[in-house]
């Protein structure tokens, strides 16, 4: 079953075609990679899919619903979540608070009435699911530390946790391994595969770390100069000479 269906998405910035007619599909519970050299338009494409940018042309369907014009927060409520290439954290909050905010955002309706009914504070279930996520991420010891005191690698895990807290059906990851060392990257891969196994979360992954891509993704799309140059099963695509030339700089 197709969960996300992006159809012929185009975006121009001041006359420069950042994306020209890119189509992509992600099935339920599927791990899909999106690779390409720097400046290929990967993050722009993500932003179009997620609502931070409005595409000039094309449609984005999520779960057979046209979400092309929906604002970001509405897409999140439908079951999308993401992490950021340059981490976007809530300054001044502890690690646990990052997860609890996401939990509140998922479970709360009209927040004012909840607050006045004195139900705005964290419930036991909310605390418990935050604690479960903390131990899944291996962040239990850092739970009450201010986010500023964590290393980059740990903050990437916090972002991942925050995204997973909203129980997404599709998770967008924008270069999750950049700035991480080998063990931290392995940790990240483990958490992702766990989430897929337990909740059936699908993942769309932008990544430069080819090892990580080959380890977790089943299918791969390759972008170059805003155009798709290849797509298919990961192993097949990685052997494609054009891909090797554009992306790896290897002439076949």
């Amino acid at each position: 079953m197709t969960l996300l269906d992006a159809h012929e998405v185009s975006k121009r910035f001041a006359g420069i075609a950042a994306l020209s007619g890119v189509s992509l599909e992600v099935g339920a519970g599927e791990f899909v990679g999106l690779i390409g050299p720097n400046g290929a338009g990967k993050t722009t494409f993500f932003n179009c899919l997620y609502g931070f940018l409005k595409p000039d042309a094309g449609r984005v369907l999520f779960d057979d619903r046209d979400v092309t014009r929906l604002p970001t927060y509405r897409r999140a409520r439908l079951g999308l979540a993401r992490t950021f290439q340059r981490t976007e954290l809530f300054a001044g909050m502890t690690v646990r608070d990052h997860l609890l905010v996401a939990e509140h955002a998922r479970t709360s309706g009209v927040t004012l009435w909840r607050d006045f009914a004195l139900r705005g504070r964290d419930s036991d279930e909310q605390r418990q699911s935050a604690d479960e996520m903390l131990s899944l991420l291996g962040l239990a010891d850092d739970a009450d530390r201010p986010i500023e005191s964590l290393s980059l690698g740990r903050t990437r895990l916090v972002e991942l946790g925050r995204a997973l807290m909203s129980r997404p059906r599709l998770l967008f990851l924008d270069e999750p391994s950049s700035g991480l060392d080998r063990t931290e990257t392995d940790e990240m891969a483990r958490v992702l595969t766990d989430a897929q196994r337990e909740h059936g979360t699908a993942v769309l992954l932008i990544e430069h770390d080819i090892d990580l891509v080959q380890k977790v993704t089943a299918r791969l799309y390759v972008l170059d100069y805003g155009k798709l140059i290849a797509s298919g099963e990961t192993t097949t695509v990685m052997d494609d000479p054009e891909v090797r030339h554009a992306y790896l700089g290897v002439t076949a």
Binding site: Y73, M93, V101, D115, L118, G120, R121, R145, P146, S149
Partner: protein, 666 residues
């Protein structure tokens, strides 16, 4: 036709003065990233020096000009740069804005201490001379010609500076990243100092040139000048000097045309003309393309700065929190008891007013503390609540308590309507839009009968509940205390609840917050509207206490500025700090009069100076000085409690987190 030309031509010199000032604003903004609201105050300084030397001490105008403009202007700019803005170059835009707000409040009061408050009539022009005839009825005097010439020299000179010289290039580089520029071997501080001296020179020039256009030298005129200049600067999109000049000229000419053509006593003439600069600023901020998506200046090397302080919850144990809270409540209890038993009537009234102010100040906890936005029109919201409650009682005989609540609701609705367009702006632009609104409320809306209830606003009664008559001051004090507690509880519930969490998240990162399903716009409108409602409620309560809405004494735009400055200095995030700010706003000056031989006026001026200068600490302690002190003491207590646990594995970690939270080691 000749009428038209005549009016238009008289508008040109005025427009030139607006433009000079606006160019100064653009220059400082371009070169130091500071949106200098204290510019009007700087112009006032030079005008006062010029008046004092030339009119009071009979110096020759040239000498007065040299001292007031050529020496005084750049010197003040140099002082401001060396003492303040040099250290703020990488600070967030909002910290720079708060600093200049503090100066806007403090500088005129300092000047008045020396200059005196007695009116300074008929300010002299630069050159004492008669009219100079152009042709027929079109006249310009020598002063006006000088103004135009000065403006032309400034515009041409600056264009050359930015386009052709190395210094101009360096100036532009310093704004983008002072550190990067220094890595390239440029002394960023020297460049900054030069640009501050230059822009202050323009402010001084504008001040002296503007003074003769009014009947007397008064700070209010310079504030109007500032707003007109802000509008002109906005017209130039805060970057183009020629467009800024055009903006200033347009404002000057339009103002004179309105004055010439609109019937003298019509509503339009009385409302539209004085409010032209405010309305222009407001509309430009909302609709002028190119301003709406302002590029925030961000330093690529900002990452080397130490992280901002974390919330105290990270280091506070539950016991400590309970202890500090119990201490605060105990303190309030003791003060209340003293008020009821030992203070005389005068002080009971003052303390009660302080409690009511504290209620109004709680509105800042929502909008500034949680929402992270600076609103400069809370005083106008208080006035809306007060006027509405007063009219409801007068016209429909409604009970005053119900009228207060409805007044608050009306203020909340007005707040929401203002927020809908203004919140798209954010940051300093939102602050400017709220300032423009406050000024429009004062000049356009307040004089209307349906807003304020006529020239003599209706009496607002005190309530009677179940046989208790609150016209007794001590009874009313208790009522105010109870209402303050209720509002504080209301704020606490929001702060601790989901709303508070969402606003915290939005302040941290709007992008991330919307990516997990938080609607940023709705959350901010709600915060703005609730905050306006609280201010409106407090305003209505104050009117009920004082028997009428005393707008001039309590709710002018100036009070809105002082409130912001005071509350962010002490700590906008904490309920305790907001209450302290509210009470000290009222009782500080009388207390000073009581314990020192100062007169009431001097004490009040000193209080404003102190409040204003207090804002200079904001850049260092954005969490507020009360919160900063609390954290410091908590760090000490934590250390003391941990003294026996040297061996415990988490001890070192807690210590490090605590130091991050205090922001130590900068």
């Amino acid at each position: 036709m000749s009428d038209f030309l005549g009016y238009a031509i008289t508008g040109i010199p005025i427009g030139c003065v607006f433009a000079l000032m606006a160019i100064g604003i653009v220059l400082t903004y371009k070169t130091s990233g500071v949106f200098n609201l204290a510019f009007g105050a700087q112009a006032f300084v030079s005008a006062a020096i010029y008046y004092d030397t030339v009119a009071r001490h009979d110096w020759p105008p040239v000498l007065g000009f040299v001292v007031a403009v050529l020496i005084g202007g750049p010197l003040l700019g140099l002082l401001l740069n060396q003492l303040l803005y040099r250290h703020l170059r990488t600070a967030p835009a909002i910290a720079k804005l708060v600093t200049s707000l503090g100066l806007l409040v403090a500088i005129p009061q300092v000047v008045k201490l020396w200059f005196g408050t007695s009116p300074a009539y008929s300010p002299p022009g630069l050159i004492r001379s008669d009219r100079l005839f152009l042709s027929g009825e079109l006249t310009l005097n020598v002063n006006e010609v000088t103004t135009i010439a000065a403006t032309i020299i400034v515009v041409v000179g600056l264009s050359v500076l930015f386009r052709k010289t190395n210094l101009g290039l360096q100036m532009r580089a310093v704004v983008e990243s002072p550190r990067m520029t220094e890595l390239n071997g440029v002394n960023a501080n020297r460049v900054g100092a030069v640009s501050w001296m230059l822009s202050s020179l323009f402010a001084a020039l504008a001040g002296v040139l503007l003074a003769p256009l009014f009947a007397q030298v008064s700070e209010l005129n310079f504030f109007t000048l500032l707003v007109a200049a802000l509008a002109a600067a906005a017209f130039g999109r805060l970057s183009s000097i020629p467009l800024t000049l055009v903006g200033g000229l347009l404002l000057g000419v339009l103002g004179q045309l309105f004055a010439g053509y609109l019937p003298q006593n019509s509503v339009l003439a009385q409302g539209l003309r004085p409010s032209l600069p405010f309305a222009a600023l407001f509309l430009l901020l909302l609709f002028w393309p190119g301003l709406r998506q302002p590029r925030e200046i961000s330093d690529p090397l900002a990452g080397v700065d130490p992280p901002p302080p974390a919330p105290p919850a990270a280091i506070r144990t539950r016991g400590l929190t309970l202890f500090t809270r119990a201490f605060a409540i105990g303190f309030i209890g003791v003060v209340s008891l003293l008020t009821l038993t030992t203070l005389n009537d005068y002080w009971v009234v003052l303390v009660t007013k302080g409690v009511i102010m504290a209620t109004i100040f709680l509105s800042f906890v929502i909008i500034t503390g949680l929402g992270g936005q600076v609103s400069l029109c809370q005083a106008s919201f208080a006035a809306v609540g007060a006027f509405a409650a007063g009219q409801l009682v007068a016209n429909s005989g409604m009970s005053i308590l119900l009228a207060m609540v409805i007044g608050a609701a009306i203020a909340a609705v007005v707040g929401a309507f203002l927020a809908l367009p203004a919140l798209r702006l954010g940051g300093i632009y939102l602050a400017l839009a709220t300032l423009a609104f406050a000024l429009m409320f004062e000049t356009v809306l307040r004089p209307l009968d349906w807003v304020s209830g006529g020239t003599r606003p209706p009496r607002v009664p005190r309530p009677t509940i179940g046989g208790i008559d609150f016209s007794d001051d001590k009874n009313f004090f208790l009522l105010a205390l109870v209402l303050l507690a209720l509002v504080a509880l209301f704020v606490l519930v929001l702060k601790r609840g989901t709303t508070g969490r969402f606003l915290d998240a939005l302040r941290g990162s709007e992008t991330a917050a919307s990516s997990i399903g938080i609607n940023p716009f709705a959350a901010k409108v709600v915060a703005f509207s609730i905050s306006a409602g609280i201010a409106g409620f407090g305003g209505a309560l104050l009117a009920s206490f004082e028997g009428r809405v005393f707008y001039e004494a309590n709710m002018t735009y100036f009070f809105g500025l002082v409130w912001v400055v005071l509350v962010v200095t002490l700590g906008a995030r904490s309920i305790q700090a907001a209450i302290t700010a509210g009470v000290s706003f009222v009782v500080f000056a009388p207390l000073l009069t009581e314990i020192t031989p100062l007169s009431q006026t001097t004490a009040q001026a000193l209080a404003f100076i102190l409040f204003g200068l207090g804002a200079l600490t904001y850049a260092r302690h954005p969490e507020g000085i009360i919160e900063a002190q609390t954290r410091r003491s908590l760090l000490k207590i934590t250390r003391w409690l941990d003294r026996g646990d040297e061996g415990r594995p988490d001890q070192e970690q807690r210590e490090r987190d605590a130091r991050v939270a205090v922001g130590a080691g900068r």
